[in-house]
Amino acid sequence: MAHNRASHADSLKVGDHVTSRLPAFNWKGVIVEDLGPLGIDGSEIFVVRVGDEDDGQRFNARAEHLERIAA
C-alpha cells in the first residue's frame, strides 16, 4: 500500500471535515481526535466521526486516506 503521509497529515487537524480519498468509499465526516503517528509505519491516525455526535459512527483512518472538504 502506498503511503505519502507527510503531505496529508501535516494539513489535517481536529475539526476538519473530511471524506475518503479512495473512490470505493462515499462518506463525509469530521475528525474528532488525532491519535498521532500510531500507524505501523508511523502513519498519522485520526478518529473520524460520521453522522450525529451521539448516534454516529467513530472509526480510525490513516491520514493518507483522508481528504479535507469544505464544512
Partner: protein
Amino acid sequence: MNSPGKRDATAARFQGFARALHAQTADAIALGAHDANYAVLLYRSLTNNTVLERHNAQPNSIADDFGRFGLDIWAEVDRERSGNDERRKKLWALIAWRNAIAHDDIDAKLERRALEPSTISLATCRGWRSALNILATSLDKVAADRCRALGLPRPW
C-alpha cells in the same frame, strides 16, 4: 495518601496505552489486506465505535475491543505471564477507585464494600502502577503474537 489526580492519571495513561495498542494492532491487521480498499474497510470495521473510546480501560472493555481480532485477550495474557490474573484484579481496583473519585461517591461505595482496598496509600498506587506496567507488556506481546497467528509479519 497519594493525590486523586495521580490515580486518575495512572488510569488515563493505561487507557491511552490500550487504545494505542488496539489502533496499532488493527492497523497491522488491515495492512495485511490484499488491496487498499479492503484494508480501509477492515480498519474501519476493527475500530468502529470501540468500547475503549467511550469507557475506561477496565478489563471487559479491553476484552470487547481486542475480541474483534478473534482474541480472548485475558486468557492469552494470563497464559503469557504468571500472576497476570492478580494484576487484572488490581486494574479493576484502580478503575473502581478512579470512578469513585470521578463520581464523588467514595463514601457510598465504601459503605457497600465496593472499593478494595478500602484505604489506599502511596504504596498501593505504586503497586497498581507496577501491575499495569507488567500487564501492558503482556498485552503488547499477545497483540503482536496475534498478528503473527493471522499470518502477518510481527508488527513490533
